[in-house]
Amino acid sequence: MTKLLQTAMDAVAVGSLYALIALGYTMVYGVLKFINFAHSDIFVLGAWSSFAMAAALGWTKAGATPPLLGGFAILLASMAFCAAAGIAIERFAYRPLRGAPRLNVLITAIGVSLLLQNVGQLPFVFGTQPQRMPQLLPDRVLASVAGVDLRLVDLIGAGTAVALMLGLEALVFRTKLGRAMRAVSWDVKTAALMGIPVDRVVAFTFGLGSALAAAAGLLYAMKYPGLNQPAHATWVLLGLKAFVAAVVGGIGNIRGAMLGGLLIGAVELFGAAYFSPHLRDLYVFTLLILVLLYRPAGLLGRAAVEKV
C-alpha cells in the first residue's frame, strides 16, 4: 500500500514533467513538421538558468531561505528567458531553412543542440561541475498516509504542471490564437489564406513550448536537486523520454503529449518499483515499440482517414 501510493505519486510528478516537455516537441512538430532536437536543451537551460538566478540572489548559500514566492518569481523568469531563447533559435536557425529539405532542418537542430550543450559548459556560463539546486518552493509535510509523506513541494510541483497544461489546453482550444496554431499545424498554406501571420504563429509556438520546457526544468530540479552539468547524458535521456511521450501520444497532438507523458511516467516508475529499477529505460522504449507496432500514428494521432 505504501509502495503503491509512493509510486503513484512519483509517477504523476515525473509523468507531468515529461508531458510538459513533450508538449514542446509536439507543438513544434505540429507547425513545422520536424523534430526540434534542441528542445531537450531548452529543458536543461530552464533548470540551469533557474539555478543561476537563485545563485545570483544568494539563495544557494547554506542556510539561505528564499522568500515565499521567490520560487515562482524564478519560475516565471526562467520561462520568459527560455521563451526568448526558443524564439531566437527559430528566428535565426530554423526560419532561414523554411522550405529546405527536412533533413537539413533536422541536422541544423542537432547542431543547435550541440551548440547549447557546449555553450552551457563554458566556465562563465554554467560550467562543467554538478550543482545542488536549493529548495525554492515552500515545503512541509502536509499529511502522512500509510507511512507516505504528502509533501507540499510535490503538490505544488504537480499542481503547477497540471495548471500549465490546463492553461495550454484553454489557449489552444478556446482562443483565436490557439485556433490559428491548429490551422497552421494542419496546413500552412491554407492557414495563410485565412490571413493568419504564419511566421508569427510559429515563433509564438516556439516560445510557448520553450516556456513549458523551462518550467519542467525547474520543477524537475525541485524534485531531484542534484543538477548534472549541462551536457550530461542523463539530460539527453530525459529529453529522449519526453520525445517518446510525444510519439506515443501521437506527434503533433497536444492532448496526446499530455497523455503520453503521464503514461511514460507511470510505466517507468511502476516498472522500476515492481520489477527492476535497473531497467526503467527499457520499459519506456518497450512501450514505444509496442505503440509504433500497433498504433503507428500514436494513441491520439491522426490515424483515422481524414479525406479532404
Binding site: 483565436k176 485556433r179 490559428a180 491548429r182 490551422a183 494542419w186 496546413d187 498554406k189 491554407t190 495563410a192 489564406l193 485565412m194 490571413g195 493568419i196 501571420p197 504564419v198 511566421d199 491522426r302 481524414e306 479525406k307 479532404v308
Partner: protein
C-alpha cells in the same frame, strides 16, 4: 479609382526549372465576375496562388486597388481584401464548421460586423447552419465547398478568388453554387473565378479569359466566348 480592381501584368511564375506562367496579363474590373478557363495544367491555380502571395512571381506585377501587392505576405494580401477559396476547398477537417467560419474572420476584430457577415453567409448556405458544430471533415463534398466559400466571405472580400468550385460535384450542387456566386457578386463583391467547367463558368461571368499552357490566348465578353467556335470545340465539348 478608375483602373481595374485587380491588374496583373506580365506575370511569370516558375516551379524550379519549369515555367508555368509565361507572362500573363489579366484585369478584373470592380463589380464584375471574370472567369479564367483552361484545361488541366494550364496554370489556373498557379495564377491564383501567385495573386494570393503563396507563390512568388519571377517577373511581372500584381496590383490591387492601385497598390502593388506582389511582394506582400499572404496574410497582408487577405487584409487588403483579396480572399481565396482554394482548389480542393482547403477546409480544416479536424475543426467544426463554426470554427472554420471563425478562421475566415481571422483578420477582423469587429465582432458585430463578423456576426452580421456570419449570418449573411449562413443565409446563403442554410445547410451549413444545421451543421455548425459538426466536424468539417464529415461534410459532403458540396457542403465542404459551400463552407469554403462561406468562410471566405467572412473575411469580407473586395475580390473573391474561387479555384474550381465545381470540382467533383453533382450537377445540381454545381448549379446551386454558381447561383450563389452570382448572388455574392450582385451584393457587391468582385470575383475572379477559375474553372474547367467552361459552360457553367461562362454562363455566370461577365468576362472570360482562356488560359492555355501558361498563356492567355483569348479574352472577351463571356457571352461572346461561349459562342466562339474555338472555345466550343476545346472547352464546351463540341458540335
Amino acid at each position: 479609382m478608375n483602373g481595374p480592381l485587380l491588374s496583373v501584368r506580365g506575370l511569370t511564375v516558375r516551379y524550379g526549372a519549369i515555367e508555368a506562367l509565361h507572362g500573363i496579363d489579366l484585369d478584373v474590373p470592380e463589380g464584375r465576375i471574370v472567369t479564367l478557363i483552361g484545361s488541366n495544367g494550364a496554370g489556373k491555380t498557379t495564377t491564383l496562388r501567385t495573386i494570393s502571395g503563396l507563390l512568388r512571381a519571377s517577373a511581372g506585377s500584381v496590383a490591387f486597388a492601385g497598390e502593388e501587392i506582389g511582394e506582400l505576405a499572404p496574410h497582408e494580401i487577405v487584409k487588403r481584401g483579396v480572399v481565396q477559396a482554394p482548389e480542393g476547398r482547403g477546409i480544416f477537417p479536424n475543426m467544426s464548421v463554426d470554427e472554420n467560419l471563425a478562421l475566415g474572420a481571422f483578420t477582423r476584430s469587429d465582432s458585430a460586423g463578423i456576426a452580421a457577415d456570419r449570418e449573411r453567409s449562413l443565409a446563403l448556405f442554410p445547410r451549413l447552419r444545421e451543421r455548425l458544430s459538426q466536424s468539417a471533415g464529415t461534410l459532403s463534398g458540396g457542403e465542404q465547398q459551400m463552407l469554403a466559400i462561406a468562410r471566405a466571405l467572412l473575411a469580407r472580400p473586395r475580390l473573391l478568388l474561387l479555384d474550381e468550385p465545381s470540382l467533383g460535384l453533382a450537377p445540381q450542387v454545381v448549379a446551386t453554387i454558381f447561383r450563389i456566386v452570382r448572388e455574392i457578386n450582385a451584393a457587391g463583391t468582385t470575383i475572379l473565378l477559375v474553372e474547367q467547367n467552361a459552360r457553367m463558368a461562362l454562363s455566370v461571368s461577365h468576362v472570360g479569359c482562356v488560359l492555355e499552357v501558361g498563356r492567355i490566348v483569348l479574352r472577351d465578353e463571356a457571352s461572346a466566348l461561349a459562342k466562339s467556335d474555338s472555345v466550343r470545340r476545346a472547352y464546351l465539348g463540341g458540335e
